[in-house]
């Protein structure tokens, strides 16, 4: 029969095993699908979306837009200047949130930021300020082209990385990483936390800005390509990326003419913080994913973000709508004698890395991380392969050597999540439940399952409306 593809090249079977057996008996190659029923109640919406004439091309365009984005680090400057944030304006991680629903670490970070901005002298006094809501406002980072790890709190005086797509001038932003332990993003607000933040605004930010401008645009996407080959998955492990960044800006820092003691402090602060590059990886991922927004008919996830109370996703085909459900507590290992009761539900915009196909999705390239849940190297390999079951494609630039240079699984497909029940795997840090505690552990977490059928339903609704 006239067709480019023929059953003699093999047949993919789903369902009754008998027919696959009959093909086996005819010496035809059979590839059996391990089919299982989809998430409850999604059958009709899945068919509507599957037969949407726009979907195939829309998803291809979404993945192409994302994987062809080159994110360049072009500047470091204060949020007031970059985002126009004014006194009393605060950004936070995740979907929209009101103070009364905010978790301990989110409150702690906001209290610390209020003190940093001089709205209150003592962070404890900020509780009344946020409760009253007078002269303060809370908005998601994502609504301002920004992302923030953990609590993700941004206030006007904080300095931020600026990443730019130089083909169209789009930009994304993220604050500078404070390091581990007692830090604002984990909800800590003790004097040492605020003191470090002040040093970052007074010394670190200005020096980095000067160095970046002197060095010229730094290819963040290119560094990500390399670090994935060096054992980093760019969410919980950013060691190689941090050192590559330092290598790139070191000459300009050395020639900055700044006080040698300040330069040395910058070197040791950046070099001593294995997560420093995370705050570049995240806006680089957002810049790429934002290129895929607003594509009618696309079922691709363009943001996964948590505010410590809720987990939210946005898709390419549903505009700025958030689909949210309760944030889960990560499974993993605890610092000191902290335990599961001490951990806050999942928090942070850093799941933008998984949304872009790295982090938990690139687990295979960073086997060290799998031990966060007491797993093994084969688990890490299996995880990356399993994530490919729910993604539209692979990233040709970001590859995993140990999986024979398979591209990272790219473009989470709402449909495929609903069909397989496989939830995106996210590598994450765990914040203490109580404001002011800081980090209590690290581990693995998934989104609440129900947000995917909700997003699917909205996509199906739009498909029906177009018919």
């Amino acid at each position: 029969m006239t067709s480019t593809h023929r059953p003699s090249d093999g047949v993919v079977t789903s369902g009754v095993g008998l027919f696959a057996d009959a093909l086996d008996a005819q010496a035809v190659g059979v590839n059996r699908v391990d089919w299982r029923p989809p998430m409850e109640g999604t059958e009709d919406d899945l068919v509507t979306v599957a037969t949407d004439p726009l979907r195939l091309d829309a998803n291809r365009r979404a993945v192409d837009a994302m994987t062809s984005t080159q994110a360049m680090v072009v500047d470091v400057a204060p949020a007031s200047q970059l985002l126009g944030l004014e006194r009393g304006q605060f950004l936070h991680a995740g979907p929209p949130l009101k103070w009364e629903n905010a978790s301990g670490p989110m409150r702690g970070a906001l209290q610390g930021a209020a003190a940093l901005e001089g709205l209150v002298d003592d962070p404890e006094d900020a509780v009344a300020l946020f409760e009253s809501g007078d002269s303060v406002s809370l908005e998601p980072c994502h609504h301002h082209s920004a992302v923030g790890p953990m609590a993700g709190v941004v206030s006007p005086s904080m300095w931020m990385w600026v990443l730019e797509d130089q083909t169209d001038g789009r930009r994304t932003y993220c604050t500078l990483n404070e390091g581990l332990g007692k830090v604002l993003r984990y909800g800590a607000y003790s004097p040492e936390v605020l003191q470090r933040l002040r040093w970052m605004s007074d010394v670190l930010g200005p020096l980095l800005g000067q160095a970046v401008r002197a060095t010229g645009p730094i290819d963040a996407t290119g560094i990500l390509t390399q670090m994935l080959q060096m054992g980093d998955e760019a969410h919980n492990r950013n060691r190689a990326g941090t050192l590559m960044l330092l290598r790139d800006i070191a000459p300009a820092l050395a020639q900055s003419g700044a006080d040698a003691k300040d330069i040395a402090e910058v070197f040791s602060f950046v070099g001593g913080n294995d997560h420093f590059f995370l705050n570049i990886a995240m806006p680089a991922c957002k810049l790429a994913l934002d290129a895929a927004r607003g594509i009618e008919g696309s079922t691709m996830v363009v943001a996964m973000a948590r505010n410590g109370t809720e987990f939210g996703i946005q898709t390419a085909g549903t505009g700025d709508q958030w689909f949210t459900g309760p944030a889960q507590v990560a499974e993993g290992l605890y610092l000191g004698d902290y335990g599961p009761d001490d951990a806050n539900p999942d928090i942070g915009d850093s799941a933008i890395t998984e949304t872009a196909g790295i982090g938990g999705f690139a687990m295979a390239t960073a086997p060290a991380i799998v031990r966060f849940v007491g797993g093994s190297v084969p688990d890490a390999l299996a995880t990356s392969r399993r994530m490919r079951e729910i993604t539209i494609g692979e990233n040709p630039r970001w590859s995993i050597p140990v999986l024979d240079f398979m591209g990272t699984p790219t473009g989470i497909d709402v449909s495929r999540v609903c069909r397989t029940g496989i939830l995106p795997q996210i590598n994450t840090g765990m914040a203490g439940r109580v404001a002011g505690v800081g980090q209590v552990g690290a581990g693995l977490v998934t989104p609440p399952a129900n947000i995917f059928p909700a997003a699917l339903s909205a996509l199906a609704e739009r498909t029906r409306a177009r018919r």
């Binding site: 090249d9 047949v11 391990d34 605890y334």
Partner: protein
């Protein structure tokens, strides 16, 4: 945070494990009976702070030292705790020996399977509500798809076929039982030789009958493409039939296209004839219905068109002679049941059935009537929660035994459909059941005649001759042609025209 009990802190100089491994070690040690807190960590400033906060007093150290800090219920637990530390550290440095978990998990969707292989076609038999989703995956991969699943909503079918039409792809089904492509049998299909006839079929067992008759006449097929029973309805408007005809027209080895279907909606029939006129390959329509030729006549017409001789259609065995009485047909093939009813209706008038020609002839739950009865055991209503009777013959065998016992009928007409996907040896259970039925009737002072249409080819896994011989030996009269078998059964009750 408790600070009572016994505390032990030691430095292991030069020992190293990465921080993640040490988190696991700490967790393992803390789980030991009698250990109330444990921390094993490299002595960085941060870790020293954490351990100090837990209430331990630390000696001077460098970041290259490993700290082991445990708090115990009492001193006696110390050896066990330290042993646990060593064991956990040993585990942390050991490679996993669980080779099995590194095996690649099977694909969970049809699209994922196509991402992994160059397979040329998808065969979908998942529950009807999900079939269109798997089928759409095949279309996304640029492949044709056969959908065996039934209970697929017609809206799904239309949307899927419209998508396939845009992309020049073929959707066979839903509810498509049979296809042969490149000589490969898909679903329930007979092993046939390559040849000049291209079949487009909206009926699975109708297609199988045609394949087997042509095969017996020495004529093979280029392909048999199923399209699903609803394709020629006005709603679906023959989208797959047209694509299948187009494919066969482009195929150099196809000399004649045969379209097998129940009579389509008038508008669809007209459009199809217009379309057929645009093709370079001649098209013969074989429409199954009242006043239309039966499948055997169609096969003969095909042979005549090709200029090939029409053979004697084989039959063997002798049945008991009966006088009068009723005819009861027990079928596994829907189209074969339909064909038998159409032929019988001309001879005896009313035929009662679970798939009746007219609604008033619908059988009740006991499947009995005072007259000619034909039952399709493969109908949806009789397969809910069970395998198809071509795979599981239980219900039909029960009916045969009951008919023999009750003397409900003097002639039983049955089909046996062979080929890929069907039972390994249908005669293995049916032949003894026939012998036993004939004996039972005799014991009751009656005669029971059994006529069988055995639809198969010699190359089928079950070998049609072997099956027919076994059935004939059991006392049945066996035909290849379902129409001939039906006429023989009617003549036995004295109703043949």
């Amino acid at each position: 945070m408790t600070t009572t009990g016994f505390e032990h802190v030691e430095l292991r100089r030069g020992a190293y494990a990465d921080s993640v491994a040490l988190l696991q070690v700490s967790k393992d040690v803390a789980a030991v009976d009698g250990v109330t807190a444990a921390q094993v960590a490299m002595a960085t400033d941060l870790n020293r702070d954490v351990i100090a906060q837990m209430g331990f007093t630390l000696p001077e150290s460098t970041p290259n030292d490993m700290i082991v800090a445990v708090r115990l219920d009492d001193e006696g637990t110390l050896p066990a705790a330290l042993e646990a530390v060593d064991a956990a550290l040993a585990r942390a440095s050991r490679r996993s020996d669980d080779g099995a978990s590194s095996e690649i998990e099977p694909p969970r969707t049809t699209l994922s399977a196509f991402d992994r292989t160059d397979a040329g076609l998808a065969l979908v038999s998942v529950p009807g509500a999900s079939a269109a989703v798997e089928a759409a995956d095949a279309l996304d991969a640029g492949r044709d798809v056969m959908i065996f699943s039934d209970n697929v909503p017609v809206e799904h079918e239309i949307a899927l076929k419209q998508l396939a039409t845009e992309r020049g792809l073929l959707v066979m089904g839903p509810d498509c039982g049979t296809a042969v492509i490149d000589g490969i049998g898909l679903g329930f299909a007979n092993a046939v030789r390559p040849g000049p006839v291209g079949i487009v079929a909206a009926s699975g067992t109708g297609c199988q009958q045609l394949l087997c008759l042509l095969d017996h006449a020495g004529v093979g097929v280029s392909a048999a493409l199923g399209v699903g029973g609803r394709d020629l309805s006005e709603a679906v408007s023959a989208l797959s039939t047209r694509e299948a005809m187009r494919r066969l027209d482009e195929d150099a080895s196809t000399e004649l296209i045969v379209v097998v279907s129940k009579p389509p909606a008038a508008k669809v029939a007209e459009e199809l004839r217009e379309y057929a006129a645009t093709l370079t390959t001649p098209v013969q329509f074989a429409l199954l219905g009242s006043g239309q030729p039966d499948l055997t006549t169609t096969a003969e017409a095909v042979l005549e068109t090709l200029g090939r001789p029409v053979p004697e259609w084989p039959h063997q065995g002798e049945t008991a002679q009966v006088e009068g009485g009723r005819l009861r047909g027990l079928f596994v093939g829907g189209t074969l049941c339909d064909e038998a009813m159409l032929i019988a209706a001309d001879a005896v008038g009313d035929v009662y059935s679970n798939i009746p020609l007219e609604p008033r002839l619908e059988l009740g739950a006991d499947r009995r009537a005072d007259g000619t009865v034909m039952i399709d055991f493969g109908d949806d209503g009789m397969t809910a929660g069970r395998a198809h009777p071509m795979i599981d013959p239980t219900l039909r065998l029960e009916d045969l035994a009951r008919t023999a016992r009750d003397g409900d009928a003097s002639v039983v007409l049955m089909d046996v459909v062979l080929g890929h996907g069907a039972e390994d040896d249908p005669a293995g259970s049916l032949a003894p059941a026939i012998s036993s039925a004939v004996e039972t009737a005799k014991a009751g002072g009656r005669e029971l005649a059994v006529v069988v249409a055995c639809v198969g080819t010699q190359d089928d896994p079950q070998q049609t001759d072997r099956q027919a011989e076994a059935l004939a030996a059991a006392g049945a009269e066996v035909f290849l042609s379902n129409a001939q078998a039906t006429r023989r059964a009617l003549s036995l009750i004295g109703a043949a025209r």
